[in-house]
């Protein structure tokens, strides 16, 4: 496929002229290229992962032995609150959005996201929200009410400091970015697929991230509502969560978990999508039971909205409601089982090539299953009531979120590193990284199951000696150090490849989906000719591959008359016409910056400045949305 025909080369030249961005700092600040934005998401989320991970290392050091005095309780409480908040909001979701931003147009066979400037705006907002949340830590102003921020502990009476304002405002601000990203993913997947990519030819990763995006659209509002009301309670003296004036503390819990449980799947589904991308490539066959895996993904998204009360089994709600939510929580595990056995079937019926990405995927299947079986336990009401808010639940969700999301994320980084950077990673270093991480991960989190069963509550800054918790705490801490070492090897391997690694070909693994048809790293326009798609695995199918090389004969798919992409129909991927895309712009950065300043002004209780910066944001938006051309005819 690497033989470039003359027609294709000339198409590439013509298209390239239309897809140039300015060089240097100006280009850096104004780019709307989905690949640059996507990579930027990955790097920034990686930085926040490192910071939140270091917090975990400090916490584990404090818990290495009873009555340790490494950090004060007030500091510890900020560390665990920020660790959770950052890992969920500033690492997991943005990291997967980074994969989505980079991969969506490539996998779908187009040239950019549906809303490129919104994409860049979303990135800047996300980065600045991280600055706000992490920046509060050195001032002792980081959130200290847990990532779940239960009232009344977080209300005006018991948390008079700025810590919880950082939390509510930071998350509301970040929510703008997440919502914008979700809408962008859905619109892109609906309208910009290559011709011929009917719904049953859409890659599983795209399905997964689209389902996640729909979940964001409907799950983020409860969180935003909760944070909005809490901010008003704290700043303006309303009484939504104040029982003394007719409010209710449990309302917060309902709103929070109505977001919080879907959020688990918001994080896990795209990660599972990454696994569904890796496994077929390295099993050398299409994914087994594609339609079932898609159905399972959609079903998970829907059912996950009906299970939130299993986070509240100990609150004292009516027994009858518990039996309902117990059943729903059981049912939501069925789609996960389908996905696991679909990967297993793919591997068993294929011929597994155990390269580094596949190693991470295989390791993921094992640890994710372990997190899944303990997850089912939490649907069993009395057992949940026994181990909830203990170290058992800490163990469980780290198996689900570290095992179920971080493993695929790292596997995905190794898988797409050639595409992201144009360099190959070292297989040997990759194996070391995997086994160190795998060992460290299990040594950290397996003992926590035991700690929990032995009665150790979570979120405690220390514990007494002589009641049997020491060995398990010590093991977990040693595991955390080993895990850190493993992650450092991951980082080192990727960094070394980026700096000195061998040059990657366009398709090093024998890939399945269209991103492997683009150069490594891809040109700004991705594809000189928009391909036509004839199967679920276009790279393994001659007709789809041939369509990439037809330059001159398919002018309609070259689209060199402007900064153009091809718009297609939602269901069948029928061409509808070319679509002019916006080019590089200062507006995303200006909009995100002024919105950030408005939020900061609210944080410091300067309403005048908040209004001023809000108006500035509106002006940027007006400039942004102003129609570029006058109406013809």
């Amino acid at each position: 496929m690497e033989t470039v025909t003359g027609a294709r080369a000339s198409a590439a030249e013509r298209v390239a002229r239309r897809w140039q961005e300015p060089p240097g700092l100006r280009g850096f600040l104004t780019t709307v290229d989905h690949k640059r934005v996507g990579r930027r998401y990955l790097v920034t989320a990686g930085v926040y992962f490192t910071l939140a991970g270091l917090e975990a290392v400090v916490m584990r050091t404090q818990l290495i032995a009873p009555d340790a005095g490494v950090v004060a309780p007030q500091t510890y409480n900020q560390l665990f609150s920020l660790h959770g908040t950052a890992m969920i909001f500033l690492f997991a979701t943005p990291m997967l959005f980074g994969f989505g931003n980079f991969l969506f147009p490539l996998m779908l066979g187009t040239r950019d996201m549906a809303f490129p400037r919104l994409n860049a705006f979303g990135y800047w907002v996300f980065a600045l929200a991280g600055v706000l949340l992490f920046g509060s830590l050195p001032f002792g102003a980081a959130p200290d009410g847990g990532w779940f921020a239960y009232v009344p502990l977080t209300g005006p009476r018991f948390a008079p400091g700025p810590n919880l304002d950082v939390y509510t405002l930071g998350l509301l601000f970040l929510g703008v970015s997440t919502t914008a990203g979700a809408i962008n993913f859905i619109s892109t997947a609906l309208k910009l697929r290559a011709p011929g990519m009917t719904l049953n030819r859409v890659p599983v990763f795209v399905w997964a991230l689209v389902v996640t995006s729909f979940m964001v659209v409907f799950a983020l509002p409860p969180l935003n509502t909760a944070n909005f009301l809490l901010f008003l309670d704290r700043r303006f003296g309303t009484h939504f969560f104040n029982p003394a004036a007719g409010g209710d503390a449990v309302l917060w819990q309902h709103l929070f978990w109505l977001f919080g449980h879907p959020d688990v799947y918001i994080i896990v589904l795209p990660a599972l999508g990454i696994v569904s991308s890796i496994v077929p490539v390295f099993a050398r066959r299409p994914i087994a039971a594609y339609s079932l895996i898609v159905l399972a993904t959609v079903a998970t998204g829907v059912i996950s909205f009906g299970v939130w009360v299993h986070h509240m089994f100990a609150v004292g709600l009516p027994q009858l409601s518990l039996t309902f939510f117990s059943a729903a929580s059981i049912v939501v595990s069925i789609p996960a089982g389908i996905q696991v056995f679909s990967w297993l079937a793919t591997m068993l019926m294929g011929r597994v090539v155990l390269k580094t990405p596949m190693l991470w995927a295989a390791g993921f299947i094992v640890v994710f299953t372990m997190g899944g079986v303990t997850g089912v336990m939490f649907a069993v009401v009395p057992f949940d009531q026994q181990v909830t808010d203990s170290y058992f639940v800490v163990a469980h969700f780290h198996y689900v979120l570290f095992g179920g999301a971080v493993f695929p994320i790292i596997g995905g980084l190794f898988h797409w590193w050639p595409k992201l950077t144009g360099t190959m990673t070292s297989e040997r270093a990759g194996r070391w990284a995997f086994w160190l991480t795998f060992a460290g991960f299990n040594l950290t989190f397996l003992p926590m199951h035991v700690s929990g069963l032995l009665g150790m509550p979570r979120r405690v800054y220390t514990f007494p000696s002589g009641i049997g918790w020491e060995p398990w705490a010590m093991a977990a801490t040693i595991g955390a150090y080993l895990l850190t070492a493993g992650l450092l090897v991951v980082l080192g391997t990727l960094w070394y490849a980026h700096r000195r690694g061998p040059v990657a070909p366009a398709d090093p693994w024998g890939g399945e989906t269209l991103e492997w048809a683009a150069a490594s790293p891809p040109k700004p326009y991705n594809f000189a000719v928009i391909p036509t798609v004839h199967s679920l695995h276009p790279m393994w199918d001659e007709r789809s591959r041939a369509s990439l090389a037809e330059g001159a004969t398919s002018e309609a798919r070259v689209l060199a008359d402007g900064h153009l992409v091809l718009r297609t129909s939602e269901l069948d991927g029928e061409p509808e016409g070319p679509l002019e895309m916006p080019e590089h712009s200062w507006l995303p950065l200006a909009g995100a910056g002024s919105l950030f300043l408005a939020v900061a002004a609210l944080l410091f209780d300067r309403p005048g400045f908040a209004v001023a910066f809000g108006v500035a944001t509106a002006l940027v938006l007006i400039r942004w949305l102003w129609p570029r051309e006058a109406a013809r005819a």
Binding site: A72, P73, Q74, N77, Y150, P152, F158, P243, A249, R284, R285, A288, A289, Y290, S291, L292, A314, V315, G316, Q319, T323, S326, V331, I334, I338, V340, F341, L344, A345, T346, M347, L348, M349, R351, L354, I365, V366, T369, M370, V373, V376, M377, A379, V380, P382, F383, Q385, Q386, V387, T388, D389, L453, L454, G455, P457, R458, V460, T462, G466, G468
Partner: protein, 323 residues
């Protein structure tokens, strides 16, 4: 019962876990009452299922990886395999799990026992106020219960949410602001059962333990009688206590000390721990705690007491004598 059988098999697979149960920890797996025992049985059942599932998946992964097929990969859809092993089999296991869980829920329902002993527990940042309404006295952080009798606990909070958890006796029930929750448990053997607040409640959430002393009926009745009486000790310590700032936060029944911010100290000398499980209640630790509780439980509501050494000595002696 099938559950116990699977439980035993599972226990055999997990010598580590089994060993850890007997290490004196407040372990959910060494129950002191029927409720916790039911959950422990549930755990061994769930654990057995979990082990089987994990082993099957791991073996399949290893087999798929280890097997080197020379031929090219198959192209069958694999749908039947997924439907049977990923859908049908899990559905059967999960239905069974659900029904077992429903059945176990009944162990924590209101037993409607007219002879139940009612205890009112109020959570504070960061200690437990314990009231025996029938006997009209208040104590803190240590709950005595008679073996074999239903205990009805009414849970409230004076400030933020907390959660009442004594793993060997009962599962968690939250103390929710603005609400009253009820729960019931029975201890079926004497012993000292440790519990701890399980809902994050602020700075000293980590040091908010409580202890349940389950004792035979006679011993319990005697304890109840002692607690119902006001403090009788007198002397210099009492005068200093009443005169110093102690009395503005603490109550000692039978004296002029009637503060309500801190734990009731009427019979503090008889308790096993200080500061909600922070220190053992020895005279030396008691003196150290009074002088500067912030050193042991930073952020708690008791400020350091600027007492002369002699005052500290007599106050400590006085409190220690309140048994």
């Amino acid at each position: 019962m099938a559950a116990t059988k699977i439980g035993r098999t599972a226990a055999a697979c997990a010598p580590l876990l089994a060993a850890s149960c007997s290490a004196g920890a407040p372990s959910a797996l060494s129950p002191g009452g029927p409720g916790a025992a039911r959950v422990a049985g549930l755990w061994w059942l769930l654990f057995g299922i979990a082990v089987v599932v994990c082993v099957v998946v791991t073996v399949l992964v290893l087999w798929a990886v280890a097997r080197r097929r020379d031929a090219t990969a198959g192209t069958a859809s694999g749908r039947r395999f997924v439907v049977v092993w990923g859908l049908a089999v899990p559905a059967v296991i999960l239905t069974f799990t659900y029904l077992t869980g429903l059945d176990a829920m009944r162990a924590f329902e209101d037993p409607r026992d007219p002879k139940a002993l009612t205890v009112e527990v109020t959570g504070h940042q960061w200690w437990w106020e314990v009231r025996y309404p029938a006997s009209h006295f208040t104590t803190a952080n240590e709950i005595h219960v008679p073996v074999g009798r239903t205990v009805h606990v009414r849970l409230r909070t004076a400030d933020v949410n907390h959660s009442f958890w004594v793993p060997q006796l009962t599962v968690k029930t939250d103390l929710v602001a603005g609400r009253v929750n009820d729960m019931w448990f029975t201890a079926n053997r004497p012993g000292l059962f440790r519990g701890q607040c399980a809902e994050y409640c602020g700075t000293q959430h980590g040091r908010m333990a409580l202890h349940i002393v389950a004792e035979p009926d006679a011993a319990f009745t005697a304890w109840l009688a002692r607690q119902s009486r006001p403090a009788t000790a007198a002397g210099e310590g009492r005068q200093v206590f009443e005169a110093a700032s102690c009395a503005s936060c603490h109550t000692v029944a039978g004296t002029s000390a009637a503060g309500k911010q801190g734990p009731d100290l009427t019979h503090v000398g008889g308790r096993r721990f200080l500061g909600a499980g922070t220190l053992h209640n020895t005279p030396a630790d008691l003196a150290a705690w009074i002088a500067n509780a912030q050193a042991y439980k930073p952020g708690n509501r008791m400020p350091p007491q600027p007492l002369a050494p002699e005052q500290l000595r007599v106050i400590t002696a006085y409190l220690d004598s309140l048994e």
